[in-house]
Symmetry: C2
Subunit: 151 residues, 2 copies
Amino acid sequence: MSYSIGDVVKKTGLSAHTLRYYEKEGLLPFVKKNASGVRAYSDEDLRWLTMIECLKDSGLQIKEIRQYIEWFNEGDSTLSQRLSLFENRRKILEKEMARLTVVMNKIRYKELLYREAVRVGSLDVATNERRLKHLKKKLFESPDDFDKVTG
Amino acid sequence: MSYSIGDVVKKTGLSAHTLRYYEKEGLLPFVKKNASGVRAYSDEDLRWLTMIECLKDSGLQIKEIRQYIEWFNEGDSTLSQRLSLFENRRKILEKEMARLTVVMNKIRYKELLYREAVRVGSLDVATNERRLKHLKKKLFESPDDFDKVTG
DNA sequence: ATAATACTTAGAGTTTACTCTAGGTGTTCG
DNA sequence: CGAACACCTAGAGTAAACTCTAAGTATTAT
């Protein structure tokens, strides 16, 4: 099976502009064109687009994805480089998730603080409630200046 | 206590450029200047910078942070808007963490696949190993095209 | 006193990943 | 056969968040 750029737009949700841009950036080196220069995407190309989406979701930049595809095309001699890439990415994702957990607690505290402030009609009153002060301590293992902010 | 922009650079790790940029964008409406126009940051200003960092970490854009600060300055009449902001942010962070969990599993599979490929010296051989095929099933609850990609 | 350093402003430049425009060619349908 | 539509390329424009430059003033150290 082969697909026009319009077909791929429908399948992937990417714009035709974006698909051509990806190709220009070296992310789709396998896409064939017919005699009049019209792109014909294969199922393999669609699977690469799925892979590209995953790599983008993991935070890779386009030039890093291009590097990965180049390594893939060079074959088994680049296996260790590709392993490093995924190792690093996994570590970065772990850090990112840890970071988000910390931020989440701070935002959750603010949400509860403002929920109470709305209930009693005053931010100052809510901020000084024992229950919320206690919650603050519970949510922030390592307190920083954050808990002094009144906003 | 008050601090020069250089002091704040050392304390926060932000550049002087960035601090002035934040001020221009309305994120630091309280910073005082002396007779010759030199900024003197207060402890309150430093706490706002901590708050701004948290909001940025949670994914808010600068204009959204400015909006929040404007609401803060308007007092208790904007409590419900601020509550909405934190509610939305919490929901977005939850989605983001769920997204990262999915991506993490895919990247972890790739890492293990390439670790094995490096060990045996062949991506094709590793891809066809029963152990890794089984792992793939375990990691991806809802299989998509991803598991067909060989790269 | 003078050199170095820190500060000021306005505004231009950078990066990333698109996103769109202009001007044109090719294909399909009634 | 001609209108409508999909496609092509090259290149310009956009948004966000900085990042830096230029040209000048003020402060500090020797």
